[in-house]
Assembly symmetry: C2
DNA sequence: TACCCATATTGAGGTAGATCAATATGGGTA
DNA sequence: TACCCATATTGATCTACCTCAATATGGGTA
C-alpha cells in the first residue's frame, strides 16, 4: 500500500458518513488519516484480537462482519455483539491495558486501526471528534441497556424478533436491503447473543417461516411481513 | 449554600478519589468546581430524571443509592444498574437530546450535577479529565458485557451469588463493610436486574441462609462464607 | 462431481424457574 | 403503642425452554 493510499484511507472511504469521521470537515478527516488510521484485513474465522492481548488501538469496521465474545473463567462464552461496517471495536478495553474480550471475523473483513493514544491527542485538538466519540460510547451503553431488557424480560420469540428487526434496520442504514439478507453468524451465535439455545433459535425461525413472516433457507433470509415481526417484539396479553 | 461552599464541592469532597476528579491535580479540581458542579439532593423514591426529560447534565453520586430503569413500550421495566457514591449517572443519554431511562433514589441521596456542555469544554482543556472520562465510559461498557454474560448464560443461583459479591466489593472499595451491609433495593428490583422473579430471589436467599453462606434478616445481610459464595458463581459439573 | 463435516432441523421428554396463592413481617405513621 | 400496607416468605402447580437424540442439509474441497 502506497503512502498516498495510506493518507486517504478515511478521506476517500465509502462509509465515511457511517463511521468515526461523520460530521468532520475535510481538513479534520485529513488530520485523522495522517495521524492514525491504516487498514488491516482479517480472514473469516480469524481473531482481530483476543482477551489478554495488549490494548493499543480501536478499530473501525471497514467491511465485513464481526462478533465479540466474552469468555467466563469456567469456559462459558457469551456473544456480546455483532459489528458491521462503520462500527467501532475495542471500546470495552479502553479502561484496561489489555483486551477484555475476543473479537472474531465472521466473514473476510477489513478494519481501520486507530492508535488510541494518538486518538486521545487528536480528540484534544478537535472538539468535533471528541464529541462524536463521546456519543458513540454513550450509544453503545444505551444499546446494551436494551440488550439487558431483552435478556432479562423478554420471551424467546420476542428476543428473536427484536434481533431480526435490529439487523433489518442496520442493513438499511447502510443502504443494503433490509428485506433480503444473509445471516453471517451460526444459530449458536444467535442463541448465545439472545440467551437461548440454538435449537430454540432454529424452532423459532421455522415457526416464523411457517407463519409466513419470513422465508428462511439456511442463512438466507427474506422478511415477508415486517409488521408481524414488530408485533412479536411485544408481550402479548393472554 | 454560600459561594465558597459551591466552589469547593469537589475539592473538599470525601469521595474525591472515587469520583470523577480522581487523578486530577488540585488546580484541575478547582477548575472543575468553578465551572460545573453543584449539589442536588434527592429524596428516597424520587426520580433524579425520567425518560424524555431534556438531557443537559451528568450526575456523580455524592451519597446515597440509585437504580436506573429502562421501560419498554409495553410497560415492562428492566433495572439496568444500581449506583452508589462516586459513580456517574446519565452516560446512556449523551448520544441523545433527552434522557433514555429513569433513575430513582433508593434512599435519601445527593448528587453533583455537571453540565455536559461545560464538561466537554473542560475535557478539551484537561487531557487528564477527558482520559479519565473515556475510561469511565469504557468500564461501564465492560460492566454491561459481564451483565450480558450473567443474563445470557448463568443459572439463577449463579446470578444472585455474582450480584452479592459485586455488592461486597463495591462496599469495600468505599471503605464500608463488605461483610455486613444493607440491601437498598427490593427483592423485585434485584430480580429485575438479574432477570429472575422476586420469588426466586427470596427462595435463593433463604437457601444461602440455610446453607450457612449468609445471614439474611429482611434487607440486613451478613456474608458468612465468601468463598462458598464465590463457588456458586461458577457452573457446577454434574 | 462426489464426498465430508460443520451446521441446522425436528422430535420426545425433563426441569429450572415462573405463576398463582396464602400467609408473614416490619418500617412508617398517627 | 398500635395499626397498616408494602414487602417478603413459602408452598403447590405449571410451562417455556432445555437437553438429549436422530437425521438432514449444504458449503467447501479434492
Amino acid at each position: 500500500m502506497s503512502l498516498a493510499e495510506l493518507k486517504s484511507v478515511c478521506g476517500s472511504c465509502g462509509i465515511r458518513e457511517l463511521c468515526l469521521p461523520a460530521g468532520l470537515s475535510d481538513e479534520e478527516v485529513d488530520l485523522l488519516d495522517q495521524h492514525m488510521s491504516h487498514r488491516i484485513s482479517v480472514r473469516k474465522g480469524d481473531y482481530l484480537y483476543r482477551m489478554g492481548d495488549p490494548f493499543r488501538s480501536l478499530f473501525a469496521v471497514s467491511s465485513g462482519f464481526f462478533k465479540t465474545v466474552l469468555v467466563h473463567e469456567d469456559g462459558r462464552g457469551q456473544v456480546t455483539g455483532f459489528q458491521m461496517m462503520g462500527e467501532l471495536l475495542g471500546l470495552e478495553a479502553i479502561h484496561s491495558t489489555h483486551q477484555v474480550c475476543d473479537t472474531v471475523a465472521l466473514e473476510d473483513s477489513a478494519v481501520c486501526a486507530i492508535s488510541f493514544d494518538q486518538f486521545e491527542q487528536l480528540g484534544q485538538l478537535m472538539r468535533n471528534l471528541q464529541h462524536r466519540f463521546n456519543k458513540d460510547m454513550s450509544r453503545e451503553i444505551a444499546r446494551e441497556h436494551h440488550l439487558m431488557l431483552l435478556l432479562g424480560s423478554m420471551r424467546s420469540e420476542e428476543r428473536l424478533a427484536t434481533f431480526l428487526l435490529d439487523l433489518v434496520m442496520r442493513h438499511e442504514r447502510r443502504h443494503q436491503s433490509g428485506e433480503t439478507f444473509m445471516l453471517r453468524m451460526t444459530r449458536e451465535d444467535i442463541g448465545s447473543y439472545l440467551g437461548i439455545k440454538l435449537e430454540t433459535v432454529s424452532r423459532l425461525l421455522s415457526r416464523f417461516h411457517d407463519e409466513g413472516i419470513l422465508e428462511v433457507r439456511g442463512r438466507h433470509l427474506r422478511i415477508l411481513n415486517r409488521a408481524a415481526l414488530a408485533q412479536r417484539t411485544e408481550a402479548s396479553e393472554s
